[in-house]
């Protein structure tokens, strides 16, 4: 029985003797050369563009500096353009907002208020035209107001502290009116 070390050495000898053979060396060679060619082509394309733009400069570091400067200017231009576009968009949105305030929700509210104002008779307007829908809305808001008023009164009646505070404020107000 061979010792462990002997076995180790025998295995090593077998492995050393059996050096791996590259069977398809030509294939690898072709693959390497084609990849190198592709890389070269890619390099040449970029070089051609830069040569076309900066071919008139013969000093290498000036040419590199000019390329860097042109990239910087293009970058700055793009940044400025996006900034301007953003601001224009913001301004447009603002205009739409203010227009909509006038034309939609706010004006409807205003109309209702005007109608209520007219109906209370504080303004002397001869003739008021009112649609059925507007009348219904008016009745509904009147009911709402009445319910809220009742709820408020109940709340004040139920709470003695609040009632006291409310009476105090009411008397103060009356007093001020009287003084005036």
């Amino acid at each position: 029985m061979a010792s462990e070390e002997e076995k180790y050495n025998r295995i090593l000898n077998v492995l050393r003797k059996s050096e791996p053979h590259l069977t398809d060396a030509n294939e690898i060679e072709e693959a390497v050369m084609s990849q190198i060619q592709k890389k070269r082509d890619r390099k040449t394309e970029t070089h051609t563009v830069f040569d076309y733009l900066f071919g008139w400069v013969y000093i290498s570091w000036i040419r590199k500096g000019l390329i860097a400067a042109s990239f910087l200017i293009i970058g700055l231009f793009a940044f400025q353009q996006t900034l301007i576009l953003k601001r224009v968009n913001m301004l447009e949105r603002q205009a739409i907002l203010s227009e909509s305030q006038f034309s939609s929700g706010a004006s409807a509210d205003l109309q209702e208020k005007m109608l209520l104002y007219k109906l209370t008779g504080r303004k002397s307007i001869e003739k008021i035209t009112i649609s059925e829908r507007q009348l219904n809305r008016l009745m509904k808001s009147y009911d709402d107001l009445e319910t809220r008023y009742r709820d408020l009164l109940k709340l004040i009646e139920d709470d003695p502290v609040l009632k006291q505070y409310f009476n105090k404020k009411l008397s103060e107000k009356n007093k001020r009116k009287f003084n005036m």
Partner: protein, 181 residues
Amino acid sequence: MIDPGLIEECRNGDMRNFRELVRETSPLAFSAALRMLGDEEQAKDVVQETMITAWEKIRTIRSAESYRTWVYKIVINKCYDQLRRMKKKPEKRADEQTWALISNHISSDQPSELENRETALIINMLTEKLSPKQKAVFVLGELEEMTHEEISSITGMSRVNVKANLHHARKRIGEMIKKYI
């Protein structure tokens, strides 16, 4: 032996004969890669990547003499990357057949030369418990028969580390041999 004149030409920027250099360098790169990875296809990929890196950076080497070490350095680094990627895949366990194959070879007085597939299989089985660094030291020192100094400049390890890693590799492989053969 790679023609130093050829290396010198490429190093000076004359890449017209780079194809010739690929032809001369590929076998040694393939040998190290196959012994490191234990897979023919992956070894061929490493050879390709190595030669492309060589094309890109050959001008940076100091002299034609250092070319061989430099190529090994690239191969070993590419193999490390590959081994790191392979680590995520489940390991193949040593089977009876492979151990029987190893036993046959070491018991015969005149062992025959192994095929690439067999070499890869045996190295895989023997080195499955080794870390990539230990594997590199074992392949370069024991199979490619390099000096500690050469291994040190290829792997970037100190000579003491090379010795220690080689010692651990031998010990672990010895344990495998004791266990299975």
